[in-house]
């Protein structure tokens, strides 16, 4: 919102030497964020009034003229100009060298320099209104017209800003910083804050007392949505431009002057924050009623939108139908027309939420609706009415109010709050003198009565629509007016009762750091919604998957029930730039099942923290990728200090390859899967080239150790020996079978067995594979002889040939 400092000065007398930087800073610290502070005259530096003394033809151009222009104190300059309305005696806008203007009103401002135009030297430039940013105030009939200042009482040489009385400061307020303060959406509200900040008197509005006894027929049919409606018929008017001073004020704060009647309503809104409206009274049939629209009721708005309304919309109607969308915009039919001579002035209060719904429904937010949305108090109608009537009387001395009605059905209750000083002092951390508290609150409109231990406060109507209701609000008022910066910082007091020990929180971090820093994987974040194609690729059905009522896009309605669909999408995205990468994500998943009841009957769906990983590489590396992924996941428990898990083949995931998959098991329960993404699922997701081993793990099922549990093993006193064996077995024989065969009922000197390599190919018969293993053989009591070692190896070989029909090749 933009504010004119001159306008604010109508309501609070600011000292002439007021430091503007200070004012902007104080308002920002205590009330609203001042985003900008512009001295309006700076836009018009080196731009002055000139008077054309002579108009001569240009020797080299038909459309250009050479003007002899008086630029003050009799100094005459030659200025080349192509204006279509140049005349001797005309007062024009001269941009002197150094001034900034916008050529033809377009692009960035450029600096004017002395230049030759078609061979003729020209001092500066005679400007069109659009070139100095004043097109709204000086409308033109054709594009070549230059701005005409003849009507202004300003001699040649007068700076333009002075001639037009534009010496003003424009404050730009961040709208977001005052959504909770409906009272601040006009100059008067900010003036009140300034008056309280600096202890300056605030001008009051005089209450308007109607002179007519004729009641204008106003019927409020929904008092909840319309607590108050003032209708006044004013005659003896006419459409004309409003006074220049009024026009510039409206223009300075960002609106466009239209005509006197419309300008009055906008001026009143900008001054008080209370929207008002005028209807051409000749087009209002019989009476005005405020009612809900009927389903499908048609209304054409001022901006030519044709609406089909619904019963939630509140309309202003006459006996024939809707004439305006209450609080949002007037209708086309009853707007002010060139021949309008009498109007119905509307000063009304509408319920905030309804106005907001309607404005959003038709994507039609306006200056009025955005103010009503903040919950304007109905008492403010009095101020708006007073100012509007004053302006009508000033602009139309012969005007006459011929009928009036103030229907005030929903009177606002002023809030009352008790605050005791002991509490206030404790919260503020200091005592602020009562005299200051009373003065500041009083200036803001609060009625304060001191009691023995505290004060009784009546909140003013303009702060009673939800803004101030409890004593913490009063504390805030006191603190911000006293100045937040005037409180001394205090240290945090604390009681120490033990170190923080959060095993689950730590485990998640350990796992992520393990994956990122030990296993060199990259963490990614994805949205909680999934694309349909990836969901369908990973799941046989969408049953049990939650969906959004208003999804970000039509094919992203399902909410994460697994991390894999979005991880697949990330693979698609990165496949273009990398041919090998490992990624992981930790996030919550949601299932439309296992609802848990909570406090106050809240029932929440199953939500669990999951870990998803992808190990991605060329498809000829699948075997290696799988073993690497399994190594990363398998080693995770020992690096992160939690109960370890095992890998079993129990239940194949839908998305998994037929051969390359295992379930991750913890204490006999499946907590995740590790598998190669099947070709079919990969293609359905859009993965074109690479193969991916995917892992998904339920992190909430993991069990952290209370402390590190690795134990020290004494170093062996006698050497251990390694002994490699290679043998042929059936190619379907698994490592689990081999391991069990060797380690079941084993020789006590055999300490461990390790897988070395697997080989299929030349020299190996079809249907067989060669396995090399490493036996670890040793004794705690003595150094073994080579015969003893060979004996252990031989017993292993015997077991292998007996149990697995292995054919030992080399020793």
């Amino acid at each position: 919102m933009k504010l004119s400092l001159n306008w604010i000065k109508d309501y609070v007398k600011l000292p002439d030497d007021m430091d503007l930087t200070r004012l902007a800073y104080d308002l920002t610290m205590s009330t609203v964020e001042v985003e900008g502070c512009e001295r309006l005259s700076e836009r018009f530096e080196k731009i002055i009034v000139g008077e054309i003394k002579e108009v001569l033809p240009h020797p080299n151009a038909d459309k250009l003229r050479i003007c002899k222009v008086d630029i003050g104190e009799g100094e005459i300059k030659d200025i080349v100009c192509g204006g279509s309305n140049l005349e001797v005696g005309m007062k024009v806008v001269v941009a002197c060298p150094g001034a900034m203007v916008r050529w033809h009103g377009e692009g960035e401002p450029v600096e004017i320099k002395n230049a030759k135009l078609r061979g003729v030297p020209s001092f500066g430039m005679i400007c069109a209104a659009v070139e100095v940013g004043l097109a709204d105030l000086f409308p033109v009939n054709d594009d070549h017209e230059i701005m005409d200042l003849t009507a202004f009482d300003a001699p040649a040489g007068t700076p333009l800003a002075v001639a037009l009385d534009l010496d003003d400061i424009i404050l730009e307020i961040d709208n977001k910083s005052m959504t909770n303060r409906p009272d601040l959406w006009g100059h008067y509200g900010i003036a009140r804050e300034i008056s309280a900040l600096y202890d300056l008197p605030l001008v009051e509005f005089e209450k308007y007392v109607p002179t007519t006894t004729e009641k204008y027929d106003v019927r409020i049919l929904d008092a909840e949505r319309c607590p108050r409606y003032i209708g006044a018929r004013i005659e003896g008017l006419g459409v004309k431009p409003s006074p220049f001073q009024m026009q510039t004020r409206i223009w300075r704060v960002g609106m466009r002057p239209i005509n006197a009647l419309v300008d009055i309503t906008n001026y009143v809104m900008l001054a008080t924050g209370q929207p008002t409206h005028v209807f051409d009274s000749n087009h209002i049939i019989d009476h005005i009623e405020v009612r809900r629209a009927s389903e499908g009721e048609a209304l054409g708005l001022l901006n030519d939108k044709q609406l089909k309304l619904c019963t939630d919309d509140l309309v202003i109607a006459d006996s024939e139908g809707a004439v305006a969308l209450a609080g949002v915009m007037g209708g086309a039919k009853d707007s002010v027309l060139p021949e309008t001579t009498s109007v119905i002035l509307e000063v009304a209060n509408f319920e905030s939420r309804g106005v907001r719904r309607t404005a959003l429904r038709y994507d039609n937010r306006t200056e009025a609706s955005s103010r009503y949305e903040k919950a304007v108090d109905p008492e403010r109608c009095d101020q708006a009415l007073s100012l509007a009537m004053k302006l009508f009387a000033e602009l139309y001395p012969e005007m006459n109010v011929t009928a009036f009605n103030d229907q005030y059905l929903g009177k606002l209750e002023e809030k009352e709050i008790d605050v005791d000083f002991e509490w206030l002092d404790r919260r503020l951390g200091m005592r602020i003198p009562q005299e200051i508290v009373a003065r500041k609150l009083g200036a803001l409109g609060f009625k304060v009565t001191f009691t023995e231990k505290g004060m009784h406060i009546v909140v003013p109507s303009w702060r009673s629509t939800g803004d101030v209701s409890i004593k913490a609000d009063i504390m805030e008022e006191v603190a911000r007016m006293y100045g937040y910066e005037n409180f001394k910082a205090t240290s945090i007091t604390t009681t120490f009762d033990g170190a923080i020990n959060q095993l689950e929180v730590d485990l998640v971090r350990k796992i992520k750091e393990y994956l990122a820093f030990r296993c060199n994987m990259q963490e990614i974040f994805t949205y909680p919604w999934m694309s349909d194609e990836c969901v369908n690729a990973i799941f046989p059905t969408t049953d049990g998957i939650l969906a959004l009522a208003t999804p970000p896009s039509p094919n992203e309605r399902y909410v994460k029930c697994s991390l894999l669909p979005n991880i697949c999408r990330a693979i698609v995205k990165n496949e273009r730039n990398f041919d090998s990468f490992d990624i992981f994500e930790e996030a919550q998943i949601f299932l439309d099942s296992d609802y848990t009841q909570n406090y106050k009957g809240e029932s929440l769906p199953c939500q669990r923290k999951h870990l998803g990983c992808a190990f991605v590489g060329a498809s000829d590396r699948v075997a290696e990728l799988f073993r690497y992924a399994k190594g990363v996941i398998g080693a995770m428990p020992s690096y992160t200090h939690m109960e370890s898990f095992t890998f079993e083949k129990n239940e194949k995931p839908y998305w998994a390859d037929d051969v390359v998959w295992q379930n991750i098991m913890l204490n006999g329960k499946k907590i995740g899967d590790i598998a190669l993404l099947s070709k079919k699922s990969a293609l359905a997701c859009g993965i074109k080239v690479l193969s991916a081993i995917l892992v998904e793990l339920d992190m909430d099922a993991l069990v952290p150790f209370k402390s590190r549990t690795n134990r020290y093993t004494r170093l062996p006193e006698f050497p251990t020996n390694e002994f490699d064996i290679s043998f042929l077995v059936d190619s379907m024989t698994t490592w689990n079978q081999i391991y069990d065969a060797i380690m079941g009922k084993k020789n006590e000197l055999l300490q461990d067995v390790k897988f070395v390599e697997e080989y299929k190919g030349k020299q190996i018969p079809e249907g067989k594979k060669s396995i090399t293993i490493k036996l670890i053989i040793g004794s705690a009591e003595k150094t073994l002889t080579s015969q003893e070692i060979e004996a252990v190896a031989n017993s292993v070989m015997k077991k292998l040939s007996k149990l697995l029909s292995a054919d030992v090749r080399t020793v």
Partner: protein, 345 residues
């Protein structure tokens, strides 16, 4: 002859010492002690000498021969140790082979930095469910019934759960503050905890707006906590994150779940408060909202607001990370693009 021997010795020692490689040394050896070497030649001349001189000269020449032989051998050992293990054309200016490095998401990094800072001040870390009921999203946070954020344009309601009572309506959490109530309902005061997490808003996205973004909230609830202590807390946190003292100011602001509420600004680190385009020439950057928990929020946690008060801040992690690294598009965080993510180590 004696003089010649002495000259040969001197010359021989110099030649051996000047040898730079084993091959050069071998060459020197041949010149001195080889079949036609200078010392060998000298030995050959001894029989031609007068008999009386022969033994003495023979001894002297042999002594020189032995001395040179030894010097050659020790020099050979030295040259062997000095020699490179690799061909001399090895190029040391080739770039190093970097370890393969993964990494945490830059927002996780920032989150962990903050966790460390808060933990050191005795805060617990808490996280709540991302799907919540309207009750926890709005009602017990003092959002008035007509608050615009409740409408579907701002909140992702779940299909089939978007109508009914507040405890039946479910949505993706629009902010974290509801989680604080969950914590307080299940723990005993005083409280001192942080609750980082992702929140969701149904908005149009652009370089500065996202539908999913990260917040980091911290809450202290205790008896007689003044808001001025909150300022100390914020200052220590920001100094930790940015590695230097950061000026902080608190000014009037409004959020439904705090009273009084503040906008908390930090001094612009780009211009040190002088004013630049990053801070829109005001020298301050809005970094987080904060304030005293609203009495209704404390009440919904089962606390007496006359007895308890506290301080709360909500740090926008995305924004903080963007400032830390100069990232100019918030959507990159959820892009899953490794070209972006791999930059943060």
């Amino acid at each position: 002859m004696k003089e010649r021997l002495e000259a040969l010795l001197e010359e021989g020692v110099a030649k051996i010492k000047s040898a730079k490689t084993e091959a050069e040394l071998q060459e020197v050896k041949t010149q001195l002690l080889g079949k036609n070497g200078s010392i060998t030649e000298l030995l050959k001349e001894i029989p031609k000498l007068d008999v009386s001189l022969r033994p003495e000269m023979g001894k002297a020449v042999n002594a020189v021969k032995a001395q040179l032989t030894e010097l050659i051998e020790t020099t050979r050992e030295e040259l062997k140790l000095k020699a490179s293990q690799i061909a001399p054309d090895f190029d040391c200016t080739l770039p190093g082979i970097e370890p393969k490095i993964g990494g945490l998401h830059p927002i996780t990094q920032m989150c962990y930095d903050l966790n460390d800072a808060f933990r050191s001040m005795g805060f617990e870390v808490f996280s709540g469910p991302e799907i919540t009921s309207e009750y926890y999203a709005f009602d017990n946070l003092n959002f008035p019934p007509n608050h615009p954020a409740r409408e579907s344009m701002d909140t992702y309601w779940l299909e089939g759960h978007d109508k009914g009572e507040a405890n039946e309506k479910l949505c993706l959490r629009p902010h974290l503050t509801g989680d604080s109530v969950r914590y307080m309902q299940t723990h005993k005061p005083p409280y001192r905890f942080v609750y980082p997490g992702r929140v969701y808003r149904n908005e149009t996205t652009d370089a500065r707006h996202e539908r999913a973004f990260f917040q980091y909230e911290a809450l202290i609830v205790d008896k007689d906590f003044t808001y001025t202590a909150g300022k100390v807390m914020i200052k220590s946190i920001l100094s930790k994150v940015f590695g230097r003292d950061v000026p902080v100011r608190m000014r009037a602001g409004f959020f439904p779940f705090v009273e009084p509420g503040f906008e908390i600004d930090m001094g612009c680190l780009v211009c040190n408060g002088k004013g630049c385009s990053v801070c829109k020439h005001v020298g301050w950057i809005e970094i987080m909202p904060g304030g005293t928990p609203h009495p209704n929020v404390l009440r919904s946690a089962g606390l007496d607001p006359d007895e308890y008060t506290g301080f709360y801040v909500n740090i926008g992690l995305d924004r903080l990370v963007m400032m830390r690294y100069g990232v100019d598009d918030v959507r990159l965080f959820h892009s899953t693009d490794l070209r972006f993510l791999k930059q943060f180590r």
